[in-house]
Symmetry: C2
Subunit: 327 residues, 2 copies
Amino acid sequence: MVTVYDVARLAKVSSATVSRAVNNPEAVSDETLARINKAIGKLGYAPNRIAQSLKTRSSATVGVIIPDITNPFLVKVVKGVEKTLSAAGYTPILCDTEESPEKEERYLHDLLARRIDGLVLVPAMDSQVAVPLLKKRGLPTVFVDRFISPDFDCVKSNNVSGLALLVGHLFQQGRTHIRMIGGPQRTVVGRERNEAFLALLDRYRLPRNESSLVQGDFTIEGGYRLAVEMLKVRPHPQAIISANNLMGIGALKAIREAGLRFPDNLDLVVFDELGDMGELLDPPLTFVRQPALEMGAQAAEMLLERMRGGGMPTPRSLVFEPALVSR
Amino acid sequence: MVTVYDVARLAKVSSATVSRAVNNPEAVSDETLARINKAIGKLGYAPNRIAQSLKTRSSATVGVIIPDITNPFLVKVVKGVEKTLSAAGYTPILCDTEESPEKEERYLHDLLARRIDGLVLVPAMDSQVAVPLLKKRGLPTVFVDRFISPDFDCVKSNNVSGLALLVGHLFQQGRTHIRMIGGPQRTVVGRERNEAFLALLDRYRLPRNESSLVQGDFTIEGGYRLAVEMLKVRPHPQAIISANNLMGIGALKAIREAGLRFPDNLDLVVFDELGDMGELLDPPLTFVRQPALEMGAQAAEMLLERMRGGGMPTPRSLVFEPALVSR
DNA sequence: CTGTTAGCGCATTCAA
DNA sequence: TTGAATGCGCTAACAG
């Protein structure tokens, strides 16, 4: 492997000057710079980032931990993060926890041992150790979507207004008997959407009882199962809201299997988008879109600020307004 | 940060012994081992992988470069890779080139500078530098899906038999006037599927002319555009084959917009699957499935072998048989 | 503007 | 079984 010393020898300078030529060219005279660059070209030298990291105590690396790489929303968030981070010279390391707190913890320790400079985290549902661990280590961190600690920066979208868009849409369509496949109460996102739903039923003076809301788990299978149950009860609701995209997919499957003509007999609307194929559904679903790309980009920006500005200002939350995509 | 020296001091041993205790516990007496472990626990010591890497010249890191993180097939491949790689103690670094050779090259250099131990590569369509670069550096590499050099290991699926499944299916349905939205000729995958299609038309004695096959680009937009063109011509084909999943999405959209009842007036079948939402299409598409998870896992296995077995046996190709999912 | 020196944290000789 | 010494490749004082 070619090192600074090889370059130094060829260019007849010291290793320190080679280092300067690479990292701070202004500090080197034009002629030596030229000589060094020629040597670098000839030898095909590239700095060993491992050695750099050890010396500078900065790996130019950022962890990105998400619970499901299959989720179109998260993929877009990751794309946004990746774009602004790599533009700033950082390499993101993407980890998929598959919603498992144990995996999350393992990844966290691995990333920490790799001396990441920062972290973008969408915590797993039952994440327990992440928050205290990160707090102790003082690692610059930005949470996305799931706001589980007021001590960290967070980028999320407004679940209350998002749900208001959904309920308002249904109300306008004249649907009054509405039920929701909600999120898990143990997650903030789930709680926020669930509570918003119940409050909205009251605000619109729509019928509400204990079966208006069932607790889901944000998975396709869960959405399917709960929708099947819902459809067993007569009369059907006039509309079902799914608290996230994955459960919406499951619910749609259940509706199809029940032989119901959607949206004639029954309308289905979803919080969050379904990806490229969403518009291919016939008829297409109405849903609420979160600006995922933008959210990812902003999360990365916040992280960059934190990583630069050694200081620790108070944590900030950035809340995006979702938009109704009516079909 | 807590180092071997901190542990050494607390346990009243040398740093070397601490290192042994961590990496090779058998080489340390039971009592000192116990003392060291206690100290490790008390201090919360974890080895600095950066320093380890510098010393051992191995980063326990593997690059995974793919052209599109949005593609459900690739996501599954990545999942497969990730699973077996992380089980073996490696951390994958995922990079999305968005089908851009320039991005691919940048990532490659970055990963090389980070001293990755190996690489799983799904090259961008016009990838030029990757092969010579990797060959020169001698980095253990496994290609997936796109077999662009006989000098490297490769995991792919059998495009010829996959297409045979598709054409055979249509033939059985009595469709004789078939056209295909093909892949780009400049990619191996595209060429293989295109040629297979033409050969199959002949084998089944189906009508074939210069408009039987149009060259696509494997994108949603491209598939849409070409399908629109196809549908302008009278009479319509009885069936359209899309050479990949993304173009299939576009084609389906075009068919819908043309007001054609699918599959009554026109059948559409696709090479590769459409992800979780595929089965929600009404009616569902018939497609050919590649064992993506398995392919990823096997690619990782091959890579592990290469990384361990310093030697360089001849490159191997692993070809998977796709399966027809008939709807 | 340039060179000398030292050390980041660790694993690995080589002796003991 | 253990310790002392060394160097992985680089950058950052500090001198000159």
